[in-house]
C-alpha cells in the first residue's frame, strides 16, 4: 500500500485562503511507483497493439494497479478496507494513467463508481477497495456533473419495471438503455440510476440475465465505450430519492475533477515527448527545436500545462477538504485541463511532422485520449457556461 492519510488532517483551511496546491512528498512517492509500474508493464507498443483488438482493456495491468499497488481503494475509508486517502492522491494516480494512456478502468471504477457508492456505505466497497470487484456507474461518458441532488435524480434511460412472479422481495427489475458508458466492458457490477417511484440507484450484476453490454467503436480505443441495454435485469436497491441523486452527483463531480488531472497527465506526456523529439530531429542541418517558430509554441504549451496544473490541484484539494468552492473548482479544472491537453496533443502531432500522423507513432493515442477526455463529463464550453451561472455572470 503506497497511499497514506497522514496529511489530510493538517490540511484544514482558513476561509478565503487557497489550499496547498503543491504535491506532498507522499503524493510524489505514489506517483513514482505508479509511473514506474505503468512504464514497465504497459509500454506504447502494447497499448497500440491492444487498441486494435476486441480485448481493449488490459486485465493484468488493471490488477497490478488496482490490487498490487492498492490504487483501487484510495478513496475508500479504512474501515471498508481502503486506504482512506483523498481526491488529491486519486488525482495523482489519474495523472499517471493519463501520462501512460493506460487501458485500465481506474477512472470508471475506482473514481466514479467508488465516489457514487461511498455515501451508501454498501458492503461492495470492500470488494472495490481490494480490486476484487470492478464497477461502472451507468451514465453517458459525455454527461456533465449535475448542479445538485435534485438535478441528479432526473429520469435517465432506465426505468424500474414490475417484478416478475416468484421474484424475491426487495428485488427490482430494470429496463432501458444508456449509450456511451465508459469502463463498462471491464465492470463486474453496474451502478444503475433508474427512474421510477422512487428514483433509485441499483446494483446490477454484469453477468445477470437481461443485461446486454455492446462495445462501441470509440474515438479513444484505449477507453472504449459501451451501449448498455437492460431488459428486466434484476437490481439491488442501493439508495433512493435525494440520497440516490447524491450518489450520482458525487460520482460525476469527483469523476470530472479526477478526469481533469488525467488530462493534465496527457498534456504533460505530449509536452515531454515533443520536447524530446524536437531536440533530436534535424532538418536544415540543425535540431528543429532550435527554430523559434517551434520554441515559442512549446513555451505556450508549457504555460498552458503550468496553469492547468494549478486548476487541477485546486479541484482535487477542494474535494479533499469538502470546500464549498467545489463546483467552481471542478468547472475551472475540467475546462482548463481539457483545453490544455488538446492543445498539447495537437502540437505534439504537428511538431512530429509526418511521423506524428502515422498509426505506428503513439502521438495519436494521446490526441484521442485528450480530445475524448475533454468532451467527457462536460465539454470546456459547458463547464464555462456553468461557471458563468455560479459566479453571477448571466448570459446576454
Amino acid at each position: 500500500m503506497t497511499a497514506t492519510t497522514d496529511r489530510r488532517s493538517a490540511r484544514t483551511q482558513r476561509p478565503g485562503t487557497v489550499p496547498d496546491l503543491r504535491y506532498t512528498d507522499a503524493e510524489e512517492e505514489l506517483r513514482a511507483v505508479v509511473r514506474a509500474m505503468l512504464a514497465e508493464r504497459s509500454p506504447w507498443p502494447e497499448v497500440l497493439a491492444r487498441a486494435e483488438t476486441s480485448e481493449a482493456g488490459d486485465p493484468a495491468l488493471w490488477r497490478a494497479l488496482a490490487t498490487d499497488l492498492g490504487c483501487a481503494g484510495l478513496l475508500i475509508p479504512e474501515d471498508h478496507g481502503g486506504a482512506g486517502a483523498s481526491c488529491r492522491e486519486a488525482a495523482v494516480v489519474a495523472e499517471e494513467t493519463g501520462y501512460a494512456v493506460a487501458p485500465v478502468p481506474y477512472l470508471g471504477s475506482s473514481v466514479v463508481a467508488t465516489a457514487a457508492l461511498l455515501g451508501t456505505g454498501d458492503d461492495m466497497l470492500s470488494g472495490l477497495a481490494s480490486g476484487q470487484v470492478t464497477a461502472a456507474l451507468v451514465v453517458p461518458f459525455a454527461q456533465p456533473p449535475p448542479r445538485n441532488v435534485h438535478a441528479a435524480a432526473r429520469p435517465g434511460g432506465i426505468r424500474a419495471v414490475l417484478p416478475r412472479p416468484g421474484d424475491a422481495p426487495g428485488l427490482v427489475r430494470l429496463s432501458g438503455q444508456v449509450s456511451g458508458v465508459a469502463d463498462a466492458l471491464a465492470a463486474d457490477v453496474f451502478l444503475v440510476p433508474a427512474d421510477g417511484v422512487p428514483f433509485g440507484l441499483y446494483a446490477v450484476d454484469a453477468a445477470a440475465d437481461g443485461v446486454t453490454c455492446m462495445p462501441v467503436v470509440s474515438l479513444d480505443a484505449t477507453r472504449p465505450l459501451a451501449d448498455l441495454a437492460l431488459d428486466g435485469a434484476p437490481g439491488r436497491r442501493l439508495a433512493v430519492n435525494e440520497e440516490a441523486g447524491g450518489c450520482v452527483l458525487a460520482g460525476l463531480t469527483v469523476g470530472a475533477a479526477v478526469l481533469a488531472s488525467e488530462l493534465l497527465g496527457v498534456a504533460q506526456r505530449c509536452l515531454d515527448m515533443t520536447v524530446a523529439y524536437v531536440k533530436e530531429r534535424r532538418q536544415f542541418a540543425r535540431p528543429v527545436g532550435s527554430f523559434q517558430a517551434l520554441k515559442h509554441r512549446l513555451a505556450d504549451v508549457w504555460i498552458a500545462v503550468t496553469q492547468a496544473r494549478a486548476a487541477a490541484r485546486y479541484a482535487a484539494a477542494c474535494l479533499a477538504e469538502s470546500n464549498p468552492d467545489i463546483p467552481v473548482a471542478v468547472a475551472l479544472a475540467k475546462a482548463a485541463c481539457g483545453e490544455a491537453a488538446v492543445l498539447a496533443a495537437q502540437e505534439c502531432v504537428q511538431m512530429h511532422g509526418g511521423i506524428g500522423f502515422t498509426w505506428e507513432h503513439p502521438a495519436h493515442l494521446l490526441l484521442k485520449r485528450a480530445k475524448s477526455g475533454s468532451l467527457a463529463f462536460g465539454t470546456p464550453d459547458r463547464h464555462r457556461a456553468e461557471l458563468a451561472r455560479l459566479v453571477n455572470l448571466p448570459p446576454a
Binding site: K295, A336, N392
Partner: protein, 400 residues
C-alpha cells in the same frame, strides 16, 4: 506551545512597542521616525543587523508592518520607492561593499533618496547586453566619465541615484565589457527629459549622459562584472512582477465582471463568451500564482514565474480590450490626453480607454513576452539555443 516563528513574532511585536514607547511617531518628523525604525532593525527584518534588519525570515515582515500601521506610524511610501526597495537594495546587499551598504541602504529605505534604473537604451532593448553607453576611466582612476542615452527610466526626475549599466571595454565580447555603477543623478552632465507614451502621460523618462562623472567608489561589483550584477537586479524585478496574493476578481477580471453585472443592456452573446473565458483564465492564473508563492515559501522555487508574467500581460490586454468594447459609445471617449507625470501607475483610477492603451505595454516592459518565451524554451524546456551572430565577437565589431 509556540512554534519558533510564533516566538519570533512575539519578540518582534515587543520590539515595535518598545520603539513606539521611546519615539512617538506623532511627535517626531516623519523621516526621523523612519530612521529610528531602521536603526532598530525593524525596517526589513530579513536584512542583516545594522542594515535595517534582524536577520529573520522574510515571512515575519508583515507582523512588523501591521504593528506599526495599527499604531498610526508613518510608512516609507513603498509605491514611490519601488525600484529602490525592489531592485537597488537587493543588488547593493549582494554586490556592494560594506561602505556602500552603510551609505545607501538607510536613505534608500526611509525614502530620503529615490533610486531609478539606467539600463535600457534606444539601441538596446531586448538585447540589453549590446548597450552602447560608454564609461571611460579618468587618468587618476578615481572617476569614470559616462556618455550615452538611457530610456524608459521611471521616476528619474525625482531620483538621487541611478543603477547604471555601462560599457567599460568595447574590445571584448558584449557581455564581459560591462560594469555596474550607482550614478549620482545630481551631477552635471545628467539631463532628464519626460518620455511621453501613447496614453498621453509620461510615466518614464529619457536620461542623457554627457561626460557625467561617476566616482569609482560608487562602482558596484568588479570592472567587467556588470552583466552578472545586472542579472541580480533583473531577477528581483521578475520576483516583484510576480506580485502578491490577490482575491478572486482582484484585478482587471473584477473590473470587467462588475461592468457586465451593472449594465445588462450592453450584453451580447459574443461578449459573454469572451468574458467567461477570460474570467476563467484569470482565476486559473490567480491559482497558479498562489501555487508559485507556496513553492517559493517552501524554498522550492519553480520556473513558473516567467509564465506568470506572460499570462498576466495577455489577460490584462484581453480584459481591457473587452472592457473598452463593452463600454460601447462611451468607449469612443478618452479621459485625458494631457502630459502628466504620475509617480505610480493608477490602472484603476482611469477610464477603459486608458487601461486598454496602458495594457499594451504589459507585454513589452520588464522583458517582452517573446524574450520570456525564449527563456522558457531554453532554460525550462532545454531546447537548443538560437543560432547567434554575436558570441565571441568584440562588441565594437558587431554590426549595428
Amino acid at each position: 506551545m509556540l512554534t519558533g516563528e510564533q516566538t519570533q513574532a512575539e519578540d518582534l511585536r515587543k520590539r515595535v512597542r518598545d520603539l513606539l514607547a521611546s519615539r512617538d511617531p506623532a511627535a517626531l518628523p516623519r523621516l526621523e521616525f523612519l530612521r529610528a525604525r531602521f536603526d532598530a532593525g525593524l525596517a526589513w527584518v530579513h536584512y542583516p543587523p545594522g542594515l535595517g534588519g534582524l536577520g529573520l525570515p522574510r515571512s515575519l515582515q508583515p507582523v512588523v508592518d501591521a504593528e506599526f500601521a495599527a499604531a498610526g506610524a508613518p510608512d516609507n511610501d513603498p509605491a514611490r520607492i519601488g525600484i529602490g526597495l525592489g531592485m537597488a537594495a537587493p543588488t547593493i546587499l549582494a554586490y556592494g561593499t560594506e561602505e556602500q551598504k552603510e551609505r545607501w541602504l538607510r536613505p534608500l529605505w526611509i525614502g530620503e533618496e529615490v533610486w531609478c534604473q539606467l539600463f535600457s537604451e534606444p539601441g538596446a532593448g531586448s538585447d540589453l547586453a549590446g548597450l552602447a553607453t560608454r564609461a571611460v576611466r579618468d587618468e587618476a582612476g578615481e572617476r569614470w566619465l559616462v556618455t550615452g542615452q538611457k530610456v524608459w527610466t521611471s521616476i528619474a526626475h525625482a531620483a538621487r541615484w541611478g543603477l547604471l549599466l555601462a560599457r567599460t571595454d568595447p574590445d571584448v565580447p558584449k557581455h564581459v565589457g560591462l560594469t555596474y555603477f550607482a550614478c549620482d543623478m545630481t551631477v552635471p552632465g545628467v539631463e532628464v527629459r519626460p518620455l511621453r507614451q501613447l496614453t498621453g502621460e509620461a510615466e518614464f523618462n529619457e536620461v542623457f549622459l554627457a561626460e557625467a562623472a561617476v566616482r569609482d567608489a560608487d562602482r558596484i561589483g568588479e570592472v567587467g562584472e556588470g552583466w552578472r550584477v545586472a542579472q541580480a537586479t533583473l531577477m528581483n524585478e521578475r520576483v516583484a512582477i510576480g506580485g502578491g496574493a490577490v482575491p478572486r476578481e482582484g484585478g482587471m477580471a473584477g473590473v470587467a465582471a462588475a461592468a457586465w453585472r451593472d449594465r445588462p443592456e450592453r450584453r451580447t452573446p459574443g461578449l459573454h463568451d469572451r468574458l467567461i473565458r477570460l474570467w476563467a483564465d484569470a482565476e486559473v492564473a490567480r491559482l497558479a500564482g498562489a501555487r508559485l508563492r507556496q513553492q517559493l515559501a517552501a524554498g522550492q522555487p519553480g520556473p513558473e514565474g516567467s509564465a506568470a508574467k506572460i499570462v498576466f500581460a495577455r489577460l490584462n490586454q484581453d480584459l481591457s480590450a473587452w472592457d473598452l468594447e463593452f463600454a460601447g459609445a462611451d468607449g469612443l471617449r478618452y479621459d485625458d490626453w494631457s502630459l502628466r507625470r504620475p509617480e505610480a501607475v493608477s490602472f484603476f483610477g482611469r477610464g477603459p480607454g486608458y487601461r486598454y492603451l496602458r495594457a499594451r505595454g504589459n507585454s513589452i516592459e520588464g522583458g517582452t513576452s517573446e524574450i520570456l518565451r525564449g527563456i522558457i524554451a531554453e532554460r525550462v524546456l532545454g531546447l537548443p539555443a538560437e543560432a547567434r551572430a554575436d558570441t565571441g565577437v568584440p562588441w565594437k565589431d558587431l554590426p549595428r
